[in-house]
Every structure is written in C-alpha cells, then in structure tokens.
Symmetry: C2
Subunit: 451 residues, 2 copies
C-alpha cells in the first residue's frame, strides 16, 4: 500500500511526551492559581457563528480568522477568549452572579504568517472580572497579586509587574491640549532610548508642530521614574488640571495602596508611565509583566481595565478587568532559553516493573499495590531481552525500576533500582513504595521553570 | 448601536459555572486515573491537513467532517483522537519508547444532524498502548482495571465491564463455514431478545439459507452464558476446530486470569459473547461498559485491540489496545438522569469575604491569609446594600461567608457564617480558616456522580 507522509501543520505546536508533561504542569499551576482567587473555569466552543464572533468586525484580526461554511452556516474558529466571554456573559446574563469571575485556558486560532516562534494554534490563559454596571477598583489591585502568584509558583522570582493607568495618559495629553496627537506623540516618545531627549524634542516640535512648552511638558512627564512613591508624588504635581487625570491617579493610588496587603512584594511591582497597551480597548489600569533577565521575551502577562465587555450584544454596561498569558508562545520561548526545569517530572511513570519470570501474577499484584498508593506505575510485559527492557526504562526516564525474579518473589522482596544514582537494593514492596513516594513528593516540589 | 443577538451554535455544549465545575472534576478524575497506569498526556492539534487526516478515506464519517481551505491549504478538524495518534506515532516514531502509552482528553468534531443529546463538538477521553511489531496480551488484561478505576472513582459501583474477543467470533463463524455471512448472522442474532430463538432460527434458515445444523450451532453458541468460568468452560468445548478460535480463547483466558490481580472485582466484569464492536477495526479483545441501572445509556466506555494503528503512514506494524470515553455525551446523559452529585463543589470559592467597612485593609489581609492556606477565596468589594451582597453569596452557592465589620476588626475576629446550616459564629481568622478547610476536605471526597 502507498504510504502517506505523516506531518503536523506548520504553526501548530505538537510536543513530545517529556515536554508535554512540563506544559501540563505549567497549566496545572496556572489553573490552581486562578482558582485560588475565586475564578471559575469556563469552556466555551472553539467554533462560533461568524456573525457573532465578528460582531465587532474589521481590523487586522479579520484576515487571520479561520472562517468557513458547513452546510448553510458561516462559522469561525475563535481568535481570542474575550469575544466568546462577551457572548457568554450577554447570553447567560440572567443566570450569572456579578461581579462574574471566570478563567479560561483554551486554544485560539490566528492564521498568521508562519515563522519560528509564531503559532497559528495557541493557548491563552485568561482571567476576567466582569461587573454589572460598575466594578470597584479594588479588583484592579487584586490582579497583580494573581500574576505574582502564578509566576512565583511557576518558579520565577526575577520578574516585574508593570502598571499604568490610561486615564493618566489620556488626561495628561488633554491637559496640554494634545488629545488628537496622542498616538503620534507616544510613537515619538517610544524612541527615547534610541535617539535621546533632544531627538524626541525635535520630532515633537518640527514634525508634529508642538510648541516648545508642550514638548517640554511631555519630556518632563516621560522622565518621571523612581520608586512607586516617588512616581506617585511626581504625578501629584499635575493634579487639579484635568478631571480624568485626577481620577486615574486616584485609581493608581488605590491599586498601589493594596498591593502589599494582597501579598505582592515591592520588588515585583513598578508604576511605569511608559506602559500603554491597546489604545482603544483599555480605559483604566493596564498591566504588563517583564522577565527581568530576559527583556527580549517581552511581556509574558498583560491586560487591563475596560468599560464595556459586551457592547455588541447588549445595552448593559459590563465593565471588566482581566489579564491573559500567551501560554504556547511562553512555553516555546522558555524552551529556547533553556528555562524549563529538567528536574521536574517528564516521565510517564514513577516506577517501572520489570518481571523476570514467565508467570506475571506477582508483578501484576505489585503494580496494583503501587497504584493503590497513588504511584504512577507501568508494568512491562513484552517478551524482550534484558538489554531491551533497560533501554526502554532509560528512554522513558523513569526514576525507579523494580525487578521481580524468582528469588525476589520467593523472598517477598523486590530489587529496587534508583535510575538517577544507579543504586540497587532488595526491599519489601512497602519499603520500595515508600522510597518511591518520598522521591515523587520531593520531585513534585521542583518548579517547572528555572531562571 | 444595533445589538446582535448572542447565541451558541446548536450541538455545542456550553455549560454554566456550576455544571462546568462538575465537568472539570470528572475530567480531573479521568486524567489522574489514566496517569496512575503510566499513560502520558498528549495534546495534538485540533486541525490537521485533510490528506493526512483522511488518509483512510471514505466512509460515513467523511460527510460529517469540518473541512475547509485556508490560503492554499486543505484543512480538517479532527473527528476522533485515534487518527491524530496514528499520525503522531508514525511521525515521532524514532523519539518514542514502545510500548507507547498515551492518554488524550480533547474535543473532536462531527457535523452530525443536530438533535437533543447529540453533539457536534464533544470530548473524547482516550487511552491507547501501542506496541512496536508486537504487544503482549497482558496489556489487554490491564485495560478493564483502568476502566474500573475511572468509574469507581467517579462514584459508580453498579457497572459492568463486558469483554469478548473478535478472534473467537471470527473463528467460530469460520469453523461452521460461514465467514462470508457473519455480518448478516450477527444482525439476526441481535434480534434474539425481540423475536426469540425460533424467530432467529427462521431468519437463519429461510432468509440466509443456512442448514439446520448451522443454525443450531449458532443458537447454541449464542446461548452460552453464566459466570466467567462457566462461559470459558463452554467455549473449551469448541477447541481444536479452528486455529483463530483457539488463539482468541487463549487470549480471553489470559485476560480473565489477571483481572483479580489487577484489582477488578468479579461483579464488575463479564465475558459476554454478544459484544462485537466495529467489525473491521478491532481484531482481538473488545470492551464495552454498561451502567446496570441505566441500560438505556448504552456503553459508556468502549474499545479493543487492533493490529495496525498507522498502516496509512508507515510499513511498521504497530498493534495496539485502547478505550475511549465519550465524555460530553456521558456528562449530558448523567445530567438528564439526575446522576450528577449536587453535594460535590459547584461554587467558584470556598469562602466569600464581605467587608463592612470603608477601609478594605483588613479584608484584603484576610483574603491573602486564606489564600495562603490554599482556600479558594473571593473578596467582595462592590459598594452595595447588605441584601445585595447576601444575594450574591446565595447565587454563588459559596459554603462560607466571612463578615468583617468594625467590631470584628477591633476584636481580631471574623463572623463566619456557614451557608448550609445558617450558623454564624465569631472566630479567630485561624479558626475560621481551619473550619473552612475541614469542610472543603470533606466536600472534596464527594464523588461527582451518584447512582
């Protein structure tokens, strides 16, 4: 028979068993962390009616959408988890309690040009808190705590959650009469590191036609930095000139005030006036998260506050605040950087039983006993040479191999080989189980990521 | 602005938060049970190249496939987890250790006619053991143990794993010279309960043209029942007449021999000669699982042994044995039958903190302390009347509410209300945490399914 060459589509991540187990552990930690803050899991369909999914229409995303017809129905694969959430909340409004806190970890689809490290199918891991009509700013203060919990449990210490407030930016530009030009100005300011303050000043005055005073105000504002308290104190100096600015500063102060209470250490947090995020969607607090040793990775967790989650489906005002982790890309980058912890479990089993007798009764009983104690156990029953069996154990990376021959069975023991150290000992089945369980408990503490 | 009516496609399950948490718990138990037997998780793409996915071609399934073009690429959504596994094993053959044991819980897509209880997007939860060239029959004996572990951990006791061997059936039909007619005969035998032995005999002789002796042999064979030992003893009577039959009986005896050792109680297992499953795919052991109080549900876990997993992609012989749980349909049917345990957790949090003061500092600190102890905690910070706050707690179904007013803060206590009993007590934060943790540990023991 003619064989067809098996292949996986480019832009689709398909992991080998070891890395897949590392990925699963990362997802488990994210799930547990989100749940700890009282978020409930959702699982919406991968496919939605195109008119529903694309209600907002237009934009860069639309070209990337996987859209097709089945029968008479125009369908699309979801390209994020936010639009399905908006649909869900509008559709099930009457049955939900608000503020509605949900997390969702799921695959989304974007037909981007395929290139190394870019994925067409990728996981997002989102949380959002949705208010009914209003949503207290304390929720904005809780978000950094959730980010902190996720990344520190994953094994990271050297990261920084950066926060700003869009009202402060918008208020500032309004205050100096430059609301219309704010986009151009931000792009110019973005070049600060490259071309220096004088270069930026030149663009602002010569290209954008700002006055010297306006350019001076912008450069002064952009230069604000220091500890959180220093930044907040500098921002106080602008108070009373614009209502939106004052509101934004009030929110930023509330958020920073509660951070310690929510358990976020000072060193993992910074007020950063250069963070802006999506200009049209976010309306208040915005977040980014940087791995300090790997600035090239960019933000690993971003989000913010928005005014209207579901305006395309309902007249109700549903403000929210949320964050998203681009999990597939993160996992890819961590792998590239050598940051996946090889000490964390990558084997499909904690113990592999190798029977050395024809009758498998004793080996089957041992496997059942180990499993009853919660140990992930494989029983190897193929009729192979000893060398082939050991090569299987090696390839699996299993931490313990248990040999069971006539001698062991007669003496009521097993030969327990620690594959890390090479040590081999005859132990009672109970003692072997205890030794393996102790190793597993220790190994389980190894975080999936190392810095 | 014109609003678009939000909707979810028909045939796509989208659960409310409470049921979703029940579903998550069921998936968690399946995952843990599969892992306990040394299976490793895989996560293959939802989308594959059509030529790869449809290499086998033809058949009923092809019409149901979600197939579309993106750019120049002909794509299809997976319709099961077996074809992607075949592709995976053929593609990554050199990097895998055999026997390769994997589980996958994932969504698959079939554009069936939408009707109540039929889904177009649904979860399958599969395990397979794939051998390289050969695969010992002991693996077939382990499978019922995995089914038993899954369903008993889910909360069921009154279920039966039914097993047969296709070689016995094929061998038997060959032995009486009726290999060609075996399909027609099985359909006739299937009517036994409805039309009785004489009715079946009439079809066999009159419609299918069998001799009286052949019809008699078939009816005798079909009538074999009793305990496992009785059935096996009756089958011994046919030995020596057909090689395939003898081989199948040998396998069936090996499988039943090890069941006790693998921990499957007698009452949850039966050799059942009426089980056939897919005629062309399975070649040896076949499994079905019945809920004895709900025969109308049909088999909740089925599978079997096959000779060649990946014959469309590789010349290597890759025999395997596996099972599949149709999770979405199972969950739907359990809900319809009232079998989802309402005592199992359905709230997004174990504790809800209701601050009664303007300053949220103490409430934030309490939330952080509870979370540090692993308790899923929500902090309610909206500025609402007391009644609205309590109505939120009720709607959430949260087991404990913690009130924190001036009095409590000054006295260093919290008012802890058990929402099940209505009892309210002032407790130290530590005592409150302990009480909640005890409840959570107890609640966690409640299985997701009740009979």
């Amino acid at each position: 028979m003619e064989k067809l060459k098996p292949r996986t589509l480019s832009g689709f991540m398909e992991l080998l068993p070891g890395p897949q187990l590392q990925m699963e552990r990362i997802m488990e930690i994210i799930r547990e962390s989100y749940a700890l803050y009282g978020f409930t899991p959702l699982d919406t369909p991968l496919i939605e009616a195109s008119e529903v999914l694309l209600a907002k229409g237009g934009g860069e995303t639309e070209k990337q959408i996987y859209r097709f017809t089945k029968g008479d129905t125009d369908l699309s694969l979801r390209f994020d988890l936010t639009v399905p959430l908006a649909k869900y909340v509008a559709l099930h409004y009457a049955e939900l309690a608000f503020p509605f806190r949900r997390y969702q970890i799921g695959k989304v689809y974007r037909g981007e040009r395929a290139q190394r490290g870019r994925f067409r199918e990728f996981y997002q891991a989102d949380i959002d808190v949705i208010g009914d009509g209003q949503l207290d700013v304390t929720n904005d203060a809780e978000i950094p705590a959730i980010i902190y919990t996720v990344f520190s449990r994953l094994g990271l210490t050297h990261f920084q959650i950066r926060i700003n407030n869009r009202k402060i930016l918008n208020g500032f530009y309004a205050m100096i009469g430059l609301t219309e030009k704010s986009g151009d100005i931000m792009r110019a300011v973005d070049k600060l590191e490259k071309i220096g303050a004088d270069g930026v000043r030149a663009i602002l005055t010569d290209d954008l036609g700002l006055t010297d005073a306006q350019a001076g105000e912008i450069l002064d504002f952009t230069a604000i930095s220091g500890t959180n308290n220093e930044v907040l104190a500098a921002l106080e100096g602008y108070c009373g000139r614009n209502e939106l600015f004052d509101e934004g500063l009030g929110e930023l102060k509330t958020v920073t005030k509660h951070l310690g209470g929510f358990g976020v250490p000072q060193e993992n947090f910074a007020v950063d006036l250069t963070i802006a995020r999506g200009l049209d969607y976010y309306t208040g607090t915005v977040y980014e998260t940087a791995l300090l040793d790997h600035p090239e990775i960019g933000s690993v967790c971003s989000g913010g506050r928005y005014d209207n989650l579901a305006e395309y489906y309902t007249d109700r005002k549903l403000p929210g605040v949320g964050i998203s982790i681009g999990l597939t890309r993160l996992f890819y980058v961590l792998g590239e950087q050598g940051m996946l912890n090889s000490e964390a479990p990558t084997a499909p089993a904690d113990a592999l039983i190798l029977p050395m007798t024809g009758d498998l009764g004793a080996a089957v009983a041992l496997a059942t006993a180990l499993r009853a104690r919660g140990l992930r156990t494989q029983l190897y029953t193929e009729d192979k040479k000893f060398k082939a069996k050991m090569s299987y154990a090696d390839k699996l990376g299993v931490p313990f191999v248990l040999f069971l021959g006539e001698d062991e069975i007669n003496a009521g023991v097993v030969s327990c080989k620690n594959m890390r150290t090479g040590e081999q000992e005859k132990l009672s089945p109970d003692d072997a189980a205890e030794r393996i369980a102790a190793f597993v408990a220790e190994q389980r503490k190894a975080p999936p990521i190392i810095e």
